[in-house]
């Protein structure tokens, strides 16, 4: 059981006194017989047959805990040292020292004595430029009271001067970088601190007022967004066109996130509502309010005639390569869909617009033309639908008339023939009249196709009724006025666009 070292230990033989047997044992270069192979076999095949050895050695029982040998490690006590082996990795800021001459040459300052400057440099090094602590601990006997800005200013100016006036080993860039790290604008800092302090010194009334104003702004913004969104929705529904107001799309992101996730929006709102009183937060806040604005300043782009092409991802990227080669703008001129090309061209011709040729095919103009084409297409579609409904109404009227005739109520016959709209909704007579009036006024310059649509068919208000027929009373009665207003606006837009494109 006991191995030689244990025997030695038991017999109290110092290990050094038995040099003879130990090296002998070590010098014999016999490979040890692996477990699981008989000695005879091993002496036959030798240690070279590695595969066999590996195979034979493999099946082993769980390793037994090493119970026999005493632990080799002896634990002992060491004296205490307050050293830290990683201290060398603790990077110290470079500290500046200056000679007497340097001070008199460059660093003289009427506000500061050399002694106090020395003290300042020492304490800054001692507290590792933690300015709040430095200011707290700054106690120069006989010195005047200093603000933190005084201390920072003096320290930075000393460092700047020393850097500037000493020979510089590195390149100019590194020197400038270092210099700029010691840049300190005292007046600005003082002013900033004053602002911070004044923010804190607001009376509760002031805070409440600010809070109220902020809420009001938020509310207004939200209203506007809602209004735009609704208008846009309506336009889409009516005419299947974009209203062409770019900010709608942009504003939709925060609005939708707000409505889709009430929990999150609550949090957001809370943060937003709180933020006016946080001076430190004011910068991020302005960004948070309009998060989808492109990072580059659009005013700048405008000024420098930069147009950023943002390829409509949905339209192109799926089918074509994302890369767009250079192209002529006229290449991008839109064309109406083949099925309706004729009617659209006809309508545009009535408006006096040639869609095949633009004098100045700028991006904006192309986009406008595109929108115009879409609007016209929608208009054509609508006309088709209106015609169909008109026809249906006529048929129904005729049937009604026949019924009426069959019943023999002669008195109602005339009315029923002219005021068939009342079948749907009779109390919009005033609105109809208004709409008609507006339409007439606006449409004074309008072209003949449009006239045939609106004037002949008693104006946009009729469309509302027709639409309602289509959607199976999908539009709320209460929303009628607003919807109508939107519609009027939308129509005006189309006209206006046609006008601009034409010009």
């Amino acid at each position: 059981m006991a191995n030689s070292s244990e025997v030695r230990a038991i017999l109290d033989l110092p290990s050094s006194s038995t040099p003879a047997p130990a090296p002998k044992k070590l010098s014999v270069p016999t490979a040890r017989k692996p477990d699981g192979i008989s000695r005879e076999l091993f002496s036959l095949i030798g240690p070279s047959s590695t595969t066999l050895v590996a195979q034979l050695a493999k099946p082993r029982l769980k390793q037994k805990p090493n119970l026999g040998a005493g632990s080799k490690i002896k634990w002992q006590w060491r004296a205490f040292k307050n050293e830290y082996p990683f201290a060398k990795y603790n990077v110290q800021r470079p500290t500046f020292t200056y000679s007497e001459d340097e001070y008199t040459l460059h660093l003289e300052d009427s506000e500061w004595t050399k002694e106090e400057t020395d003290y300042l440099m020492k304490i800054v090094a001692e507290y590792d430029t933690r300015w709040y602590v430095i200011y707290d601990r700054y106690e120069f006997a006989g010195g005047v009271a200093r603000t933190m800005e005084d201390l920072k200013d003096r320290y930075c100016s000393v460092c700047r001067k020393l850097v500037r006036n000493r020979p510089w080993a590195g390149d100019e860039n590194s020197k400038n970088a270092l210099l700029s790290s010691y840049q300190f604008d005292k007046e600005r800092e003082v002013l900033r601190k004053r602002y911070v302090a004044s923010l804190e010194n607001r009376t509760p009334e002031q805070i409440a007022e600010e809070e109220a104003l902020y809420m009001e702004i938020k509310r207004l913004e939200q209203n506007e967004r809602k209004f735009k969104r609704e208008r846009d929705d309506l336009l889409r529904t009516i005419a299947g066109i974009d209203s062409g107001l770019p900010d709608i799309v942009e504003d939709e992101l925060p609005a939708s996130s707000m409505s889709s996730d009430p929990k999150r929006s609550k949090k957001r709102n809370g943060a937003d509502l709180d933020s006016p009183s946080t001076p430190l937060m004011s910068t991020p806040l302005s960004r948070a309010a309009r998060p989808s604005l492109p990072p580059k300043n659009s005013a700048y782009d405008l000024q420098h005639c930069i147009t950023r092409t943002e390829p409509p991802a949905a339209a192109t990227s799926a089918t074509k390569a994302a890369h767009q080669p250079a192209y002529l703008r006229s290449f991008k001129l839109p064309f109406p869909k083949a099925a309706q090309a004729q009617k659209v061209t006809q309508a545009l011709a009535e408006l006096g617009v040639s869609h095949t040729r633009l004098v100045m095919p700028t991006q904006g103009n192309v986009a406008l033309l595109d929108q115009l084409l879409e609007a016209t297409t929608a208009l054509v579609d609508t006309k088709k639908a209106v015609d169909k409904i008109e026809f249906d109404i006529q048929v129904l009227k005729n049937r009604l008339g026949m019924q009426g005739a069959a019943a023999g109520t002669a008195a109602e016959e005339g009315d029923g023939g002219t005021e068939g709209m009342e079948v749907d909704d009779g109390n919009d007579a005033d609105g109809d009249a208004d709409g008609e009036g507006d339409g007439d006024g606006e449409d004074g310059r309008a072209q003949s196709v449009l006239k045939t649509h609106f004037n002949v068919r008693t104006g946009p208000a009729v469309n509302v009724h027709l639409l309602r027929g289509f959607c199976g009373h999908g539009i709320d009665t209460g929303g009628d006025k607003a919807a109508k207003a939107n519609l009027i606006q939308g129509v005006c837009c189309v006209k206006f666009m046609a006008y601009r494109v034409h010009r």
Binding site: I10, L11, D12, W75, R78, A79, Y84, V133
Partner: protein, 465 residues
């Protein structure tokens, strides 16, 4: 075979016995892996507060020894048949020719004829170092059974400690305790560390002092440090409530268990039926009785008293459920609104009270305002966003919520760290010391015995900023 084995074994034993005896009496860094083990210096941390002295191993989460700072003092001459205790009792130390001090959990709290009690701290500062030395020795040697010369020791100090005091402490540690290394750290900073913060506004409500300490990057901003003996006022108010009669009840006797021979169960509010230990009354000193009654008040506060979360409101106070409490005399009654008026003293003093008593300690909100006013405006937001509430006195039910409500009135983004675990709250300073002293990076800050010998007292101020 056994014989041989026995011999071998004895041999090993002999060697190691020498090793035991040769052990230098300094703390060790365990051998083998120097880098992995370098932080194991088995440092001790001692935190001295007005209520208790806390001592324990650095790296632990609770102190091993918590003994009252108050000690008993018996001035009688040590005669054989007078009430003389066992000379070998560890809780005693001889102070002079004819007085003994009794320390520890079973020191002052055990009744002894003629024993006075005393506290070596005044407004949180040590004013009598002799019993402090004895108390620290008792905590480390008798309770923890450690040899102070084997362990570096970190001691805490309040933020308003004097340089003379900390140097005296260093002297005691190096000269009397023979510690291999020493450091003295500020409780404000340590409380911030215990909360895992480098910068914080530490609100520490202890047994006698309430303090507000701004901490930035692990340094106290001394200009923003404010404190007042507010807890004393709260305690006095509670005692006043209990001992003075009101419409519902008579004044309550605060006799401790030691003076009550037996009690009988009585109805709520009925006069207590108990017998006093007449044999003890005569030998009871005023200071002992006063101290013990204060403990009874303290326990009543801990069991019953609270503070309204949203400021004082008669209706709210009346709507809270009353609590029943029984005193050692067996007297028991219900405490309703009045249990909230105790905690209210921390936050609000009536104008009449303030007018009649100009030296009234400042309330917590007043202290906070004063502290923040002294700080750079830019820092205030950072500080109120990192408020650390600590100290046994803050364990008042509802204290944290009330503080939060008070702060929210003036600051929009208040965040209060107030550990729910009472041990963490009560021993925050000790815990921070435990964290600090077990950090590897702290090693270079220890003042070693060699440095002390070489530089003397001056090194304390230089190293412990």
């Amino acid at each position: 075979m056994r014989e041989a084995e026995q011999t071998g074994h004895s041999e090993i034993v002999d060697q190691s016995r020498n090793f035991w005896n040769a052990r230098p009496s300094t703390p060790r860094i365990l051998a083998t892996d120097f880098f992995a083990r370098v932080d194991e210096v088995s440092a001790l941390v001692i935190d001295i507060g007005t209520s208790s002295v806390r001592a324990g191993y650095a790296g632990d989460d609770t102190p091993k020894a918590v003994i009252p700072t108050t000690y008993g003092l018996l001035k009688t001459a040590p005669d054989a048949d007078s009430a003389m205790p066992d000379a070998t009792d560890p809780t005693q130390a001889t102070t002079g020719a004819s007085s003994k001090i009794y320390m520890g959990q079973f020191g002052p709290s055990v009744w002894r004829a003629g024993m006075e009690v005393s506290n070596p701290l005044n407004d949180g500062l040590i004013h009598d170092f002799e019993p402090i030395t004895a108390l620290m020795r008792h905590a480390v040697v008798d309770v923890m059974r450690c040899n102070p010369s084997d362990h570096p020791i970190l001691v805490t100090e309040p933020a308003w400690n004097t340089p003379a005091n900390r140097e005296r402490m260093a002297e005691i540690m190096f000269e009397e305790f023979q510690v291999p290394a020493f450091y003295i750290a500020n409780t404000g900073v340590l409380n911030a560390f215990a909360a895992g913060k480098g910068s914080a506004l530490v609100i520490d409500v202890g047994q006698t002092m309430a303090s507000v300490t701004p901490i930035v990057d692990g340094f106290v901003l001394r200009k923003g440090l404010v404190y007042s003996p507010l807890p004393k006022l709260v305690h006095a108010h509670a005692r006043h409530i209990l001992t003075n009669p009101n419409q519902q009840r008579r004044g309550i006797d605060l006799f401790p268990h030691q003076l009550v021979a037996n009690k009988q169960q009585v109805e709520v509010g009925a006069p207590p039926r108990f017998t006093l230990r007449e044999d003890r009354l005569k030998g009871t000193t005023d200071s002992w009785r006063n101290w013990y009654e204060a403990r009874e008040v303290e326990e009543w506060i801990q069991s019953v008293a609270g503070v309204l979360e949203q400021g004082w409101n008669d209706q709210v106070a009346a709507s809270r459920p009353p609590r029943q409490y029984e005193f050692p005399t067996g007297y028991n009654c219900w405490f309703a609104q009045e249990r909230y008026s105790v905690g209210e003293q921390f936050f609000w003093h009536s104008p009449q009270l303030m007018a009649s008593n100009p030296s009234l300690p400042k309330t917590i909100p007043a202290l906070i305002t004063e502290s923040l006013r002294a700080c750079d405006p830019e820092l205030r937001q950072v500080l109120v966003g990192n408020v650390v509430l600590t100290g046994g006195g803050s364990l008042f039910a509802g204290f944290g919520d009330r503080l939060s409500a008070e702060l929210a009135r003036s600051f929009p983004h208040v965040k209060i760290h107030s550990p729910g675990n009472p041990v963490e709250r009560r021993y925050g300073g000790w815990l921070g010391g435990s964290v600090l002293a077990s950090l590897g990076t702290f090693h270079q800050l220890w003042i070693s015995k060699e440095e002390w010998t070489e530089h003397g007292k001056a090194i304390v101020g230089q190293r412990c900023k």
